[in-house]
Each structure stands twice: as C-alpha cells, then as structure tokens.
C-alpha cells in the first residue's frame, strides 16, 4: 500500500514538473530559441521603415517650412527664417514670375540626396541585425529613391541582399516602404496657388478652403508686399509654407521704387 502511495507521489511530482516545464517553455520560448522564431517574425521592410522614417519626417518638415528646400535660394527672410519664393517679382503692379515650378519633383530630389547617407546606414544596421540573429548577410551597393505620393512618402531601397542560415538562403533585390504623409496634396495645392498668382496676381484662399474641407490656408503679408502662405492638412497637421511676391500695390504713387 505504502509502495503504491510512493509511486503515485512520484508520478504527481513528475506531472507537476512537466507542467511547470511546459509553462516555462511557453514563457521563455523567445529567449530559448531566438534564431528560429526571430527569423520568422523579423521583417526587413519594417526594420528599414523604423530606421528611416524619423529621418525622412525630419527632413520633410525642414523642407516644408522653407518652401521645399533644405538650403533655400531666392528666399524671403521672415522672422529669421528662410522661405523660398515660388513666384516673385521685384516690381510694383505686375504679376509674379514662377521661380520654382514642379516643387514636388525638386523636393523629392533634395529629400533623396539628404537621406542617402542615412539609407546606407540603415542597410548596414539591417545586416548587423541579421547577424545578431545568427544569419550571415551581405548587401551590394545601395540606391534609394524617394517619391512623394498621394497619402504617403514612398522610399525604395534597391540593392542585392543575401541572407543565409545553414542551408537556406534568401535573396532580396528591393525593399519598398511607405511613410504616411499628405504632403502630395499640399504641394499640388501650393503649386496651384503660385500658378494663380503668376496669372492673376493674387489668390483667394477662402474658396480653396471651402472646396477642400481638410485644408487650412493662412496668408500673411509683409509691408513690402511679400506673402507667406502656410498650407495645412487639418487632419494630419502637416504643413507646407512658401512665399510669393506678386501684384504689389505701392504705398503712394509708386515713384520711389523698391
């Protein structure tokens, strides 16, 4: 009888140990088997996105408040900030001449150049991350392209990337990531306003705002006739700011020219 009780007790203890073991296995499975689980969960796109997104957003914000350029040329000095003139005339009574057409294309070019270094750093960091996870990884020359698209900023990394572990090899040629942004619409509206100024001398911001419910446009004017437009998406709070000088009415008869 006692022998049987002892056996039962041993079985119970073994069963408890097994249960505890299973619980521990579930709780610490990531630490115990990092390589296999990690590789399945790891997404290079997500990694690259989290690496480049803050940099893109920061560059974009700087460009956006300076009329689309990181180092503006042909700008208005407004409260110690440089704002690019998209359309300008130095004369009185005349509509402006377009100075920076295709703002979007120019902004993409600048953005691309400014993030190239960071993009390479992100790829190196990605390779490092793979190595930490027990993979061997190699990448070729990195080329990146930045596109401002409706609803997002598209960033593509073109490079040959090979990831190997034991006998399995994965090869990537290109990663495409999208960063949420409404800058595309802001730029097209801004271009339209500048075009309107060049044609008619001034633009009516109320009608733009009534037509596009998500849009807020502010128009500040300086004493010498420059206008500073700030175009904002009220839902995302993104802004684009630029300057124009067009159809300026002189104080007095305009004999003393600017």
């Amino acid at each position: 009888m006692l022998k049987k009780r002892g056996q039962v007790a041993i079985f119970v203890i073994i069963a408890i140990l097994i249960v505890i073991g299973i619980i521990l296995l579930f709780l610490y499975k990531d630490r115990l088997f990092p390589g296999k689980e990690g590789a399945e969960a790891f997404s290079p796109e997500s990694y690259l996105k989290s690496c480049i997104e803050p940099y893109i957003k920061n560059s974009l914000a700087i460009q956006a408040k300076q009329g689309g350029f990181i180092a503006p040329e042909g700008y208005l000095d407004y409260k110690n900030e440089k704002i690019t003139y998209i359309c300008y005339t130095n004369e009185y009574f005349k509509p402006c001449v377009v100075q920076r057409p295709m703002i979007k294309a120019q902004m993409e070019k600048e953005l691309e150049a400014s993030v190239l270094g960071r993009a390479r750093g992100c790829v190196e960091s990605l390779i490092g991350e793979y190595k930490n996870r027990g993979f061997s990884a190699n990448a070729g020359e990195v080329k990146n392209k930045v596109e401002i698209l409706p609803g997002k900023i598209g960033v593509s990394f073109t490079m040959p990337l090979t990831v190997t572990k034991e006998t399995s090899t994965q090869r990537f040629d290109r990663f495409d990531i999208g960063i949420k942004s409404e800058m595309y619409d802001l730029l097209l509206i801004s271009e339209n306003i500048a075009s309107f100024e060049a044609e008619f001398g001034d633009s009516e911001i109320t009608s733009y705002m009534q037509y596009y419910p998500d849009l807020k446009i502010e128009k500040d004017k300086t004493a010498e006739g420059s206008k500073i437009y700030t175009v904002t998406n009220v839902a995302t709070k993104e802004k684009f700011r630029f300057a124009t000088r067009s159809l300026v009415w002189s104080p007095g008869y305009g004999v003393d020219e600017k």
Partner: protein
C-alpha cells in the same frame, strides 16, 4: 483814387512728419533684364549691379528677351503644366519648357471610379495608376462641368469576383466591375445598389461596427470586413456581437446591411446641425458645418461628424467678415488713421483665420451677407483701393465712376486741377512718409493759395472784397480734411489713437499792396 491793399494769404498745408534723412534713391542705375540676380531670383528687371556674375542680361524688358521669355513648363511625370515660367526655372526643375502650351497640356475628362478630374492625358494615366484603376480618358469632353456630370449618375453596387479561390467583393461602379477590379483584369458580377455585406451574395465580406471617412464624401460610413464602405453610420444599425465576438442574427438591421441607402434614407437627414458631434448618427452635412473626422473621444465610434463652425462667435464654417485693429477713429469722409489696415477674418474648421489686406490701405475689406435658411451667411473680400487717379478728376460723374475708381466728390472745394469741387480717395491711402520724397510730393497736392482782396476805407478800416471765405476757420479745416483724404498727410491720428507730435500743416500770410 482808392488806395488798394491786396493782402495775399498763402496757406501752406503739409504733413510735418517726414524723415528727411531716409531713403533718397541711389543715383539712377540702368535697369536690365537679368536672368539670375545676386539673390538667386530669376528673370527680374533690376539694376545692372544686381545681376549675378555670368548671368545673361539685356537692357530691355524681360518680355522682350529670348532668355527670359515666359512659357509653359511641362512635368512629364505628373502630367501637369505651369504657365508663366521662364526657361531657366523650368529646366532647373527637370521640366520641359515650351514657348506656347504644348499639346500634352490639352485637357480632357479623366474618370477615376466614381470621381472625375478635368486633366491632361498623362495626368489621367498618373492618377489612374496611383488609384489602381485602368485609365478611362474622354478627350471629347471639353469642360469641367460636363466631366463632373459624367460620373454623377453612375451605377454603384457590389462587384462580386473571385480572388485566390475566395469569393470576395468590392463596392464600386459598374464600369470598374466590368472593366477590371482594382486595375487588374479580374472581372466581376455587378449587383446594383447592393452592399458587399449582403448575405445573399455569399461573399467573405461581413458587417462590422467599424466606421470610416470616405474621400470626397461628408458622411461617416460603416465598413465591412473586406474594407468596403457600407451605409452611413447609425448606431442603431450596428451589428451586435455575442460572447465569442461573433455577430448575432442581424434581424431588423439586415436590410441596412444588404441594400445601399441614400443620404435621405439615413439617420437625421435634415438636422440643421448636420449631426455635429453626434455619437449615434454619421449623416454629416458639410454645408451645415459638419464633416467626417477621426474622433478624439475614447468611447463611441472611431469617426464622427466634427463641428466645423465657430460656435463661440456665432459664425459658420466658410463665413468671412471684415475686421480692423484700429483704435484711432476713422471719420465718415474716409480718412483712416495713420498705419491702419483692413483685415478679413475667416471661420474654417472651428477656428478663425485672419488674412490681412494689403498694407498702406492699398486694399480695403468689403463684406455682404446672403440669407440662408439657417440665417445670414457673410462673405468678405480684400479689394484693391483704386485711389490713384481721384485727384486728377475735375467733374462729379468721372469722380464717382465706380467702375474705374474709388473716390468721393466734395463740391465747393478745390484740389488738383479742379476748382468746382474736389475728387478725393474714398479710403485715404497710406504713405511711407518716413522715407523717400514721394509722400512729400503726394501731400503737396493739398497745398492751396487763396487771394483775399481788401479795400481800405477813406477814414481807416478795411473791407473784404473777394476771397473772403478763406478768412473763416472752416477754410483751414476744409484744407486739413483734403490733406488727410489724400493720404497720411496733415494733422493725423495713428492707428493706436495717438495724435502726431507736430501740427501737420502750416498757414502763412503774405501781404501785397497795389
């Protein structure tokens, strides 16, 4: 023989606040059309020294040069065209420059699902590509209204198709369903006015209680499990879930999840508030001041009809009205305080945006209101102050011709060449009286000399014979008023309500005897 004494009173009225030291213009430098200035501005007519080194220049107007002729800049990627662009600016941006508008810029109607855009063909291809749709371009449509009308009455409904061996659905137009769903070659079966969540269609799309805002629409919509917009959000029509998070029998709301309903068939369609801030009804109305936006409340639907009106000041979304920051009082003759300016306020998305009209009162603010069922709706605008040729008018009809100028006629006064009345600006313009010589010249138009003739009596004393009105105090105040109406001249008060430190005018007398 009468002893005549002619007394001439020369009355000089002029502003006495000029900063004489400032702003005399430089020795005249020849102006040239400069392709690029030292400040990197393109195609400007500036002094020769302002031209950047190596930049093209010509001593003519830019419009007469070849290098600064304005043309159309064509963006071959986006398919957009920008007029009034100099070649150098277009080329630097990577565009294609043309003297005249190229054929690629001609417009037609681009149909994008249930939306339409009046754009160029390349732009249409671009937009279609970005929206995942096949290009549907109608060159024969020649105006925007016609283009918008083309898509207005399109059939919409459930397009059932098979993707990866699953019967699924997209709520779209008949054209997209038969032409290829999502820009692919997949064609589906179209069920007009049916929702993808309709049980009878047997697709994998089921009702959910989630909501969304749809591009180009005011209202909050339910979405189904495939991401398609369903009918307008109505809390009483949301599906109920059991303890296992499965939808209970739809029962009374089955019809709402089967057939597409019009705005008028949805909750509170005629609410004057446009269901603003309602957590139970998503039937927003932009014209009433509500629009679908993400909710910032923790409970309730993810999206609600946000209130766009400026409630605290009783203005509606889109209303605009004139404002002024002047403390100095402007009088009924249009004389405005020195430094005063017009402003236009706009109520947008629940906040007031201030737009300044041009400084120096080169623009004035005008406003009017239209009557609507919800009360008056005011609209304001900054309008150019056409004051420049008032003083040159010598008769009332020309002076008051509001098609050409903004002036007021003052009979009995004289100014400029007019002796039978003075034509003066309706709103006095501002002047840069602290620099340059122009303000002095502009104010000097208010100078006047009045000859008063006296006759000396035989036993002393003198009697005024002509020009006697100039001896009255009214004459001086009339001249002051003329000065102030001409601009920032004369004895003015500034916009913060302070009088000038100087008198602002002077009266001198000179005696001449005959």
């Amino acid at each position: 023989m009468k002893d005549k004494i002619i007394l001439t009173a020369l009355v000089m009225v002029a502003v006495a606040v000029f900063a004489l030291s400032a702003g005399f213009s430089d020795a005249a430098e020849q102006k040239v059309c400069c392709e690029k200035t030292v400040n990197s501005l393109l195609c400007q007519e500036v002094g020769e020294s302002q031209c950047a080194a190596g930049s093209k220049k010509s001593p003519t107007a830019c419009a007469s040069t070849d290098f600064c002729r304005l043309g159309t800049c064509y963006d071959s990627i986006e398919g957009t065209c920008i007029d009034n662009t100099p070649k150098i600016a277009c080329n630097a941006a990577g565009g294609v420059w043309n003297k005249t508008s190229p054929p690629q810029c001609s417009l037609g109607c681009c149909i994008l699902g249930d939306q339409a855009a009046f754009v160029s063909l390349v732009r249409c291809k671009r937009l279609s590509g970005l929206s995942g749709l096949q290009t549907n371009y109608r060159k024969d449509v020649t105006d925007e209204v016609q283009c918008v009308n083309l898509v207005r009455n399109q059939d919409k409904g459930a397009c059932v198709y098979e993707s990866e061996f699953v019967k699924t659905c997209k709520f779209t137009t008949r054209a997209e369903c038969s032409g290829g769903v999502n820009g692919t070659s997949l064609k589906g079966q179209f069920f007009k006015d049916k929702l993808c969540s309709a049980e009878e269609l047997g697709t994998n799309c089921a009702p959910t209680s989630k909501t969304t805002c749809v591009s180009g629409k005011d209202e909050v919509y339910f979405i189904d499990s495939c991401g398609n917009p369903a009918n307008i959000f109505d809390a009483s029509k949301a599906p109920a879930y059991d303890s296992q998070k499965k939808i209970r029998n739809l029962g009374g709301i089955k019809d709402y999840w089967t057939n597409a309903k019009r705005k008028e068939q949805s909750c509170n369609p005629s609410a004057l508030s446009g269901n603003a801030e309602s957590s139970t009804c998503g039937n927003c109305n932009y014209l009433a001041g509500s629009y679908c936006r993400a909710s910032n409340k923790r409970t309730g639907p993810e999206n609600i009809c946000a209130d766009l009106n400026c409630k605290s000041i009783g203005k509606k979304h889109g209303e605009s009205w004139c404002a002024s920051a002047d403390k100095g009082i402007s009088d009924s003759n249009g004389k405005k305080p020195v430094g005063s300016r017009y402003f236009k306020n706009i109520c947008v998305n629940g906040e007031v945006i201030v737009e300044a009209c041009d400084d120096f009162r080169q623009q004035e603010c005008i406003q009017d209101a239209i009557q609507t069922s919800a009360g008056p709706f005011s609209q304001a605008a900054c309008k150019v102050n056409r004051w420049r040729d008032c003083i040159a008018q010598d008769n009332e009809p020309d002076c008051l011709n509001s098609d050409k100028r903004d002036c007021t006629w003052n009979p009995g006064l004289s100014a400029g060449n007019s002796t039978n009345g003075a034509c003066l600006p309706l709103v006095s313009p501002g002047l840069k009286f602290w620099e340059g010589e122009e303000a002095r010249a502009a104010c000097s138009l208010g100078n006047a000399a009045c000859v008063v003739q006296f006759e000396k009596g035989l036993f002393g004393g003198k009697e005024c014979k002509s020009g006697c009105e100039c001896l009255k105090s009214d004459w001086v105040s009339d001249r002051q008023n003329i000065c102030m109406a001409l601009g920032d001249c004369g004895p003015g008060i500034n916009w913060i309500g302070e009088r000038g430190y100087k008198q602002g005018f002077s009266v001198t007398e000179e005696k001449k005897s005959d």
